[in-house]
C-alpha cells in the first residue's frame, strides 16, 4: 500500500521528498502492517479490557447505577473478609492440585499404552479423543444422571454390596467428582500431546539402555521422563490454566457451586458477583486477583521451562 502511494505521489510529480524505501523494506513493512491488524484486535478486545478492569476494581461499580464512586481498596478488602470468596480460592487451588497431576498421569499412561500396541492405534486414539470434543454441558449432565442418588453408579455400588454415595450432593465428594470428570474429558488431548512427545524421542537411546541391561522402569525413569520434560511442562501449563478457570462444569453439575459452596470456584464467584449481584467493582477486583494468580503461576512455569533439558 505504501509502495503504491509512493509511486502515485511520484507519478503526480508532487514536490515532496521522495520515499526511498527499498523493496525489501517495503515487503517487511507490509508484513508488519498485516501482522498488526490482529494485534490491534487483540489490544482492543483483550488488553484494553484488562487494564479497564483494574480501573473498575477501585470503584463501587453497580452496573445499573449511573454513579460509580472511587472506593480505593474497599473492593479488595471486602473480598478477603468474605468467607465464601476465600473458600472459592481454596477450591480453585484444590482443582489445580488434583487436576494437573491427574490429567498428566492419565494422559501419559494412555499415550504409553497406545505406543506399545501394534494395532488399532488409530481407533483408540479416536475413541480417547472423543470426550475432548464433546460439549462440556452434555458431559456434565451425563455425569449428573449417572451419579444421582438413584442413578446407575449407585445401583452398581449397591449391587456390589457397597454403600450408595452422594457424589455431587456431598460437600466432601463433589469437588473431586467434578475434577475427575474434567480429567476424563481431557485425557484425549493430553494423550495426543504425549504421543507426539514420545515419538520425538530417538529409539537409539532405548536400544543403548537395553544393551546396558536397563529394565522398563529404569528406561522410563531415565530416558522417557527427562526427555518428555518440555512436553510435560507445556501440558501442565495448559491444564493449570484450564483448572484455574473451572466454570461450566460447576454451573452444569452443582448449579450454584454447592453443596455448601464446596465446588464454588473463583471464576464462578466472579460470574456471580458481576451478573447476579451486578457488583462489577468487586467482580473486577476478583478478576484482578485471578489475573495475578494466573500470572504468577505462569511465571513459575516459565522459569521451570527455561531449565535446560539434558540429552
Amino acid at each position: 500500500m505504501i509502495a503504491r502511494t509512493a509511486r502515485t505521489n511520484a507519478a503526480a510529480g508532487w514536490k515532496t521528498i521522495p520515499l526511498r524505501i527499498s523493496y525489501r523494506t517495503q515487503r517487511y513493512l507490509f508484513i508488519y502492517l498485516t501482522l498488526a491488524v490482529p494485534l490491534l484486535y487483540f489490544f482492543v478486545t483483550r488488553l484494553l479490557p484488562i487494564i479497564y478492569s483494574f480501573y473498575i476494581s477501585f470503584r463501587e461499580w453497580n452496573i445499573l447505577s449511573p454513579s460509580k464512586p472511587y472506593v480505593g481498596f474497599a473492593n479488595y478488602s471486602g473480598l478477603f473478609t468474605d468467607e465464601i470468596f476465600r473458600k472459592s480460592i481454596v477450591n480453585t487451588f484444590l482443582f489445580v492440585a488434583v487436576g494437573i497431576p491427574g490429567q498428566l498421569a492419565a494422559g501419559l499412561a494412555a499415550a504409553l499404552l497406545l505406543q506399545s500396541i501394534p494395532r488399532f492405534r488409530g481407533f483408540f486414539r479416536t475413541v480417547y479423543f472423543i470426550p475432548y470434543i464433546t460439549s462440556i454441558v452434555a458431559v456434565s449432565w451425563v455425569f449428573r444422571w449417572l451419579l444421582m442418588p438413584n442413578g446407575w453408579v449407585n445401583s452398581a455400588l449397591l449391587n456390589l454390596g457397597l454403600d450408595a454415595q452422594l457424589f455431587l450432593l456431598s460437600p466432601r465428594q463433589a469437588l473431586y467428582v467434578i475434577a475427575l470428570s474434567m480429567i476424563w474429558q481431557s485425557v484425549g488431548f493430553q494423550m495426543l500431546v504425549f504421543v507426539t512427545g514420545l515419538e520425538g524421542i530417538p529409539a537409539m537411546y532405548y536400544e543403548a539402555a537395553r544393551i546396558d541391561g536397563a529394565n522398563a522402569w529404569r528406561r522410563f525413569q531415565h530416558i522417557t521422563l527427562p526427555l518428555l520434560n518440555p512436553v510435560i511442562l507445556f501440558s501442565a501449563v495448559i491444564a493449570g490454566i484450564s483448572y484455574l478457570q473451572t466454570f461450566t462444569q460447576i454451573v452444569s453439575m452443582t448449579g450454584e457451586g454447592g453443596p455448601l459452596n464446596s465446588t464454588r470456584t473463583l471464576v464462578y464467584h466472579i460470574y456471580k458477583l458481576a451478573f447476579k449481584n451486578f457488583e462489577m467493582g468487586s467482580a473486577s477486583a476478583a478478576t484482578v486477583i485471578l489475573f495475578i494468580i494466573i500470572f504468577a503461576f505462569t511465571l513459575v512455569q516459565i522459569k521451570a521451562l527455561e531449565r535446560k533439558v539434558e540429552y
Partner: protein, 457 residues
Amino acid sequence: MTKKTLHSKTISIASLSLLILLAACGSGGDNKKNEGADQNQSSESKASPVSASVPDSGKEKVTIEYWQYEYPAKVQLVTELIKQFEAENPNITVKQTNFPYDQYNEKVATLVPAGKGPDVINLYYGWLPKYVSSGFLQSLPESAFPASDIERDYYPLVGAAKIDGKYWAIPTAVRTLALFYNKDLFTKANVEQPPATWQELVDTAVKLTEKDSKNQFVVEGLAFEPGAQLHHWYRDGLLPQAGGEDLSDDRRKILWADSPAGLEAFQYLVDFAVKYKVGTPGVFTDDAAAFKTGHAAINIDGSFRLGSLKSDAPDLKYGIAPLPSYKNKSVPSSFWANAITSNVSGAKLEASAKFLQFLTSKEVQEQWVEKVGELPAQKAVATQDKYLNDEKLGPFISQLDNSKAHFFIDETGERTLFVDAVNEVLLNGVPAEKAFQSLVSKTQKLYDDYWAKAGSK
C-alpha cells in the same frame, strides 16, 4: 419462585460479555445514562406526564421497546397482544425483545449501560429492590396507576412492588404454590384425600413413600428440593402458618427467630428429609422431574408448572390441593411484573404507560390465564366462576386471599442461604437449631448490607 434451570456459560462467554460491556461503557455509555437521568428529572417536574385522554399524541409515531424473558407461551401471547395494542393505538409501535431466562439479568447488565435498554421491562418481583436502588426504574405514573386503585383491585401480594411508598411495577398475572399430588400413587397407597394439615401431610407422605430392598427411593412421599420451591414454602407458608412473622414493617429486620414459630417451621421442613426420610434432594435430578415421571407422590410447586406438566406428561393423573395449614392459613406467591425504566420520558413515557395499562387490562388478564396458565392479578378477574370451578386453577385461586410474597432484597442470595442451612442439617449433621440461628443471622446481614447501601445513596 423462579425456575431453577441450569444453563451453561463457558468462561469465554462470560468474559466476552465483560469485554463487550467494557468496550461499550467507555465514556459514551456514561454520558448517555446521565443524560437520560436528567431528562427523566425534567419530565417528572412537568405536571402529570400521562394524561388519561389521547390528545395530540396521535400525530407523532412512537416506538417503545419491551423486554421479557423467553418462555414460548408468553412470547407467543405477547406477540399477539402487541398486534392488538398496535391496532388500537396506530401511533405506537412496540418492539419485543426476548432473552433466555438464565441470561436475563446478564443481558440487562450488559446492554443497559451501553444505552440499549428497554422502555418497558418484565421483571421478577424479587429483583425489584435491586433495580430500584440502582436507579434503573421510575415509579409508575400516578395518573395512570393510582396507588389506591392498585390496592383496591389487586391481590395484596402486589404490595411487594411498593417501595418507599410508591409502586414501581405492576403484574398481569400472579402465581401461588399448591400441593400437586399423583392420583394413581394415592389410589395405590389407599389414600383417599390430599392432606390438609401439617400432621396429615407427614402421615400421608410416610404412607406414600416407597423404597426398594436397598433402601433407595422408588417413590418419594414428598419431593424434597429446598432450592426449588421449599424455601418459599418456608418463608410465606410454614412460618406464618405456625404463627411466626417474616419481616418487620420497615422490611429491615428478619423476624424468624423472634418467636418459637420460626424454628418450629424450620424443624418441620427438614424433618421430612432427616426424620421421616420421605424425600431427599437430587432424586431423579429434581422435584419437578420426579413428579413428572411418577417418582414423587406429592410435590409443592407453583401454578406455572401446569403448562409444562400438560405438555411433558399429558398422561399423568394428578390433582391440585391447597397447601396444608397449621395454626393459620398462608401460601407463598410471586409474580413477574412490568416496569418502566428511568430514562423514559415525554411521548415515550405516555406510550409506555398506555402499554402497561393495556397489559394489565381485564381482557389481557383473561387471555393470560387461558394461554399461559398464570393466575389473574386482579381479584375481580380471578374470582370469576369459570376459573374458581376449574379443577386445576381453582385451588390456586382460592388460596390467593391468604397469599404472601416475601420482600426479597437478594433472591438468589437468600435462597442460597436457605439451601445451605438445610444442607448443614442434612449432610453435616448440624442440629437444626444451630443451622437455623446461622441462617437468620446471615440473612439479616444481607438485609443490613442492602439497607446500608440504599441509605448511602
